[in-house]
């Protein structure tokens, strides 16, 4: 069995080979997706060194769980982005939780410190914003809720509290924003099987 032309091979097919324990296939998968993974993690975690750590974990996760990828449920790219984002958010939330615990124990009168911490992080995220072309299609209020949630690691409830906006409104803005974003990203005339970066 000769490996197919790796340039033309779809990520889904490549993942299928990785699932068989093919380390060389994993190397190709790494080359085509690691920048995508690191990009997501960096936006969420922000600290470059920590982001690299998390991105490595994600790549190892992909190796370990490749057999769980089910092409019926979505594309390889979506699967990878899901794993990467989840890992990054888990890290941020656990760091936050331990920070909150020490704050609560340190100052008994501390009200709800987590929102301030998150808000601070989000502000610094916006400062470092560079590539925003796709998100530009969103209205300001849609973009705000999506960035606070997806890059700011907030739950929709935290977003609602942070913006002092009803929960239903926040959910609607998220939903409408994602639909609009999909319309904007959809036409992407990308040559089949072509990679992410390079």
């Amino acid at each position: 069995m000769t490996p197919p032309n790796e340039e033309a091979e779809t990520l889904e097919h490549l993942l299928g080979r990785v699932a068989t324990g093919d380390e060389q296939a994993f190397g190709s998968l790494y080359d085509r997706t690691s920048s995508l993974v690191l990009g997501i993690v960096r936006r969420v975690v922000r600290d470059p060194a920590q982001s690299e750590e998390v991105a490595q974990e994600v790549m190892v996760d992909m190796w370990r769980t490749a057999q769980r990828f089910d092409p019926e449920r979505g594309s390889a790219k979506a699967w990878i982005a899901t794993i990467a984002h989840r890992r990054a958010v888990d890290l941020v939330r656990s760091v936050q939780a331990s920070r909150d615990r020490s704050e609560v124990y340190g100052r008994k009168d501390a009200a709800t410190p987590e929102f301030d911490v998150v808000a601070e992080q989000v502000i610094s995220a916006s400062e470092h914003a560079d590539v925003r072309t796709a998100l530009d299609v969103l209205t300001t209020i849609q973009r705000e809720v999506i960035e606070l949630a997806y890059y700011g690691s907030m739950t929709y409830r935290q977003v609602a509290e942070h913006l002092d906006t009803p929960l239903g409104t926040v959910k609607t803005r998220m939903r409408d924003g994602m639909v609009r974003l999909r319309q904007a990203l959809e036409p992407a005339p990308e040559p089949p099987g072509h990679g992410v970066s390079e």
């Binding site: 080359d31 997501i40 979506a78 239903g168 970066s197």
Partner: protein, 272 residues
């Protein structure tokens, strides 16, 4: 939390923007909700595409480091039915390579009925590599067929609000609504269906209901009634076909709705 509330968690869930407790409840709901699965899948595809725009090349040294780590990391043997998240729950990897113990796949947990997955891993013996390669090839070959099935489901399954919102051609039309209210239509031209969504709608009053209308020419056709939930939110599929150029109307009517509008026109939104 009722079903309507749960449906509205599909997007926050896909954005990893719900708390653990709500996530568990939503995951249980997701197993039985085709519409929410479609919404979650659609949002994840979008986020996958978005990731292309934020890509950051890792330092060259990271590659070696990862390649070394995977060389000593055993792979999880059996696909787990994880319909809800599609992402790995952090389970310790089975030490298959070292102990020669294949992990038995729970029979009921085998994902697609046509993917010969479970039998390869239930024997308790080390799986010959050739065998695993074969099924992996089958699985990837099946992917093409699966894509056709998914497309068929998308075309035929347009019967819930979530289905319409998840439709590939769905577009959002901001609705000019009474002051203090935000409203939108999500319209799928292919399906000729639309979903009306609003927040902070006033209570229609006792024995009254909101009623939607599809107005073609001068003739308003009734397109469903609804009462918003306690915080004034609603998401409802219009039960009339909708086409570009028509107008979506909203009135308050006596309970049960009217055959033709009698209340003030609160919304008259052209479908563009």
């Amino acid at each position: 939390m009722n079903d309507n509330d749960l449906h509205q968690l599909a997007t926050p869930f896909a954005l990893d923007a719900i708390g653990d407790e709500e996530r568990r409840r939503f995951e249980a709901h997701l197993d039985g909700c085709h519409g929410c699965r479609q919404t979650v899948a659609a949002v994840r595809e979008t986020l996958g595409d978005l990731a292309e725009e934020t890509a950051v090349a890792p330092p060259v040294s990271m590659r070696d480091s990862v390649m070394q780590r995977i060389a000593r990391t055993p792979q999880d043997a059996a696909p787990r039915e994880d319909a809800s998240s599609g992402s790995p729950t952090p389970v310790p990897p089975p030490r298959q390579g070292e102990t020669h113990e294949a992990v038995p796949a729970p029979r009921e947990a085998v994902a697609p009925p046509d993917a010969p997955v479970a039998d390869d891993t239930t024997g308790g013996d080390v799986i010959p590599l050739g065998g695993r390669r074969r099924w992996a090839a089958l699985v990837t070959a099946a992917a093409g067929i699966a894509a056709v099935f998914i497309a068929a489901v998308l075309v035929l399954g347009g019967d819930t609000a979530e289905d319409v919102i998840a439709a590939p051609d769905a577009r959002v039309i901001e609705v000019e609504a009474p002051a203090g209210t935000t409203a939108s239509l999500t319209f799928s031209p292919d399906r000729m269906q639309a979903v009306f969504t609003a927040d902070d709608l006033a209570d229609p009053g006792d024995d009254s209901t909101y009623q939607l209308w599809v107005i073609a020419g001068d003739v308003p056709r009734p397109a469903g009634t609804f009462v918003p939930d306690d915080d004034g939110s609603v998401q409802v599929l219009l039960d009339e076909e909708v086409e570009t150029g028509q107008i979506i109307g909203l009135t308050i009517e006596p309970e049960g709705g009217s055959p033709a509008p009698t209340g003030d026109i609160l919304v008259a939104q052209p479908v563009t």
